[in-house]
């Protein structure tokens, strides 16, 4: 078992074996005396520890060598510093794992985000009353809250030490993302909201939940954080359905224009490919890591789905547009 650190699954003896009558010499310093085993068996066993043959194979080929004796022998040699093990614990490449994660994201979206009333409304809207301005404004408000906090969840991975290529991608991405909240603020200004208003505003709990979840993962589980970026940045998207809907229903260009500017930056910089690009740079992901990453995918998609549900709930209801700290 590779999980047992005291066992070498493909042992390689690093000392030369010499026969000296009733004993075996290992290098210059160690002498091995066969007690429960014939010396010839012991010698053959040692000579087969070449780093290529598994211990399982060696035991199988040597009927006179009980498994326990083989394990004990390897453990004793290991304790003397005479054993290397070139065997690797099970792993897969990042480029393989990301495909499975994408499949899980896609499957979870089918039953959540793709059925979310907010997106169904956007896809179906053709006339002004089919996408109310209040709902569109609300979407931009919550998006602003998200982008305003982008450094909370991008910053922890800008210093990603384990992999320079990944770190460079992330820094390039952040440089391209920086200031996007200012772009959305131009749309909000058109509907009468100021920077001061937004400084007083409280995001919906679902928006903050998404921001905090991402920041938490960025701090504590960066691999998982990387897997979220594709969906968040619109992987495979050629256009933004929300912006298309705003345009179709005839909203003011002063409102829609900045949204389009923002979306086009992301699309032309291929931010949707970021998860894939990052994972392609990661040589190895252990099975345990892959399991952990996959297990959390529904939680992430559900948090993202809840973001849109929150927008739909609050901005189709008859509550004040902005939730304000000054009114708590």
């Amino acid at each position: 078992m590779t999980e047992d650190t005291y066992t070498a699954s493909r042992p390689r003896l690093i000392a030369e074996v010499r026969v000296n009558e009733a004993t075996l010499m290992l290098g210059d310093r160690h002498t091995l005396v066969a007690r429960d085993l014939p010396q010839t068996v012991l010698e053959r066993t040692l000579r087969r520890m070449d780093g290529a043959t598994t211990l399982d194979r060696i035991v199988l080929d040597e009927p006179a060598l009980p498994r326990e004796a083989a394990d004990e022998l390897v453990a004793s040699l290991d304790a003397l510093g005479l054993i290397d093990d070139s065997a690797l614990p099970a792993f897969r490449s990042g480029s393989e794992v990301i495909l499975e994660l994408e499949e899980l994201i896609e499957a979870r979206c089918e039953t959540t985000i793709y059925r979310n009333p907010f997106w169904r409304t956007c896809l179906a809207a053709n006339a002004p009353d089919e996408l109310p301005q209040r709902l569109a404004t609300g979407m931009v408000i919550e998006n602003w809250h998200f982008l305003f906090r982008e450094s909370y969840f991008d910053a922890p991975v800008l210093s990603y030490v384990p992999n320079t290529a990944v770190r460079l991608l992330l820094n390039e991405f952040f440089a391209e993302e920086y200031g996007h909240d200012e772009i959305l603020l131009r749309s909000l200004a058109h509907v009468g909201l100021t920077y001061e208003d937004m400084q007083d505003a409280i995001p919906l709990p679902e928006t903050m939940a998404l921001c905090n979840a991402l920041a938490y993962w960025a701090h504590n589980d960066p691999l998982f954080f990387f897997a979220t970026l594709g969906l968040l940045e619109g992987q495979g998207m050629k256009e933004d359905s929300f912006i298309e809907a705003c345009t179709r229903v005839g909203m003011d260009e002063a409102f829609v224009g900045p949204l389009r500017t923002h979306a086009n930056i992301n699309i032309s910089a291929c931010h949707g490919n970021l998860s894939r690009l990052i994972y392609q740079k990661i040589p190895a992901i252990t099975e345990a890591e892959a399991r952990r990453l996959k297990a959390q995918i529904p939680l992430f998609v559900d948090l993202y789905d809840a973001f849109y549900s929150g927008v739909w709930r609050h901005y189709t209801a008859d509550a004040p547009l902005l939730r304000r700290v000054s009114e708590l």
């Binding site: 899980l104 499957a107 909370y152 400084q199 007083d200 409280i202 995001p203 709990p205 903050m208 939940a209 905090n212 979840a213 920041a215 938490y216 701090h219 504590n220 399991r291 996959k294 297990a295 959390q296 995918i297 529904p298 939680l299 559900d302 948090l303 809840a306 700290v325 708590l328």
Partner: protein, 332 residues
């Protein structure tokens, strides 16, 4: 970045500055620093007005220039020179909305009461009292609670790095110590209703449960003040809730080994007087500026809203009986 003087919108002499205006020169002093400059006799009245304004403070650079048109061009380089030798401060420090830590705690408690009051009653407690809560609901509640308890030490620990006084360090260390090992304790309660330890490890929290943990953990790292201010929300005694939980467990024939540890855990928090942890920590804070106050209040309100959402999500997610109650997606 701009030159330093650009940062001062309302320049004023720093405290302790004295000036000595003569017929053709003026000397400005603070401590060992001395700065003197000469001017034409005809400029004396304007220089006196300018020095007067810098002593009183309150005007912008433009309004100052407007009052001394005869030396207008000389004012910006003069201000730059005074700034370079550290004689100027901003006359309008951002004091509006500042409070002490202790005062912030009082305001936060009031906000918590108001936000909580807007929601008539705990949805989960209502389900307990009105006997709608099912076996799955009760176990689901314990599973979500378990997740928070399991995560807690890791969420709290980063705050230790920003505890810069002995008192704060002691408070946080004791708090962290008092939260250790509770996962094993509650895990045994869940095993009493058939949840295996493998299921417990693999259990994925509801979005709101994770949001609560993430908020606490992220604030501990990114905004310790918010971390300190929201802690009490997790530690408030809920005697009526626990009584209702026990009663419903007994009605549904759930074993005492399941619900008693939950009660013990709640009592533990009450014994340690955890609810006061926010007050004790915030009392150690000095002055807190307006933006930090707004951020803290926003985070407190959001935390309460998320707690309310968590109860709603538990009621929805654990409504149906199913073979494995824990939420596991490892083989998805």
């Amino acid at each position: 970045m701009d030159a330093t003087i650009a940062g001062l919108s309302h320049p004023k002499f720093r405290p302790g500055v004295t000036t000595d205006v003569g017929p053709n020169s003026v000397t400005v002093r603070v401590g060992e620093t001395k700065c003197a400059f000469a001017f034409e006799t005809a400029e004396a009245p304007a220089v006196a007005r300018l020095i007067d304004q810098l002593t009183t403070g309150g005007g912008t650079i433009d309004t100052m220039i407007a009052t001394v048109p005869e030396i207008a061009e000389k004012v910006p380089p003069l201000l730059q020179a005074l700034d370079a030798v550290r004689l100027l401060v901003d006359a309008r420090p951002h004091t509006a909305g500042m409070v002490s830590g202790a005062q912030l705690y009082r305001e936060v408690r009031r906000i918590a009461e108001r936000v909580t009051r807007r929601v008539a009653r705990s949805a989960f407690q209502t389900a307990l009292v009105e006997r709608h809560a099912t076996r799955e609901h009760l176990i689901g509640y314990a599973l979500e609670y378990f997740y928070i308890v399991k995560a807690a030490p890791g969420l709290i620990a980063p705050a230790l790095a920003t505890a810069f006084t002995r008192r704060e360090r002691n408070l946080l260390q004791e708090f962290l110590k008092s939260e250790l090992g509770h996962d094993a304790f509650l895990g045994r309660a869940l095993e009493a209703v058939g949840i295996t330890s493998a299921e417990l490890e693999a259990h994925q929290p509801l979005p709101a449960t994770f949001a609560l943990c993430a908020a606490l953990g992220v604030y501990a790292r990114q905004h310790p003040l918010s971390f300190k201010a929201v802690l009490f929300l997790f530690e408030m005694a809920q005697a009526a809730f626990i009584d209702a939980f026990d009663a419903r467990c007994r009605e549904l024939d759930l074993p005492a080994a399941f619900y008693l540890p939950l009660r013990d855990h709640a009592d533990l928090n009450a014994d340690y007087d955890h609810a006061d942890i926010s007050r004790e920590l915030l009392a150690l804070e000095g002055v807190i500026d307006r933006e930090a106050v707004v951020v803290v209040k926003r985070h407190v309100a959001l935390m309460i809203e998320t707690m309310i959402q968590q109860e709603e999500q538990i009621l929805a997610a654990y409504a149906e009986p199913r073979a494995t109650i824990a939420r596991i997606f490892e083989n998805a």
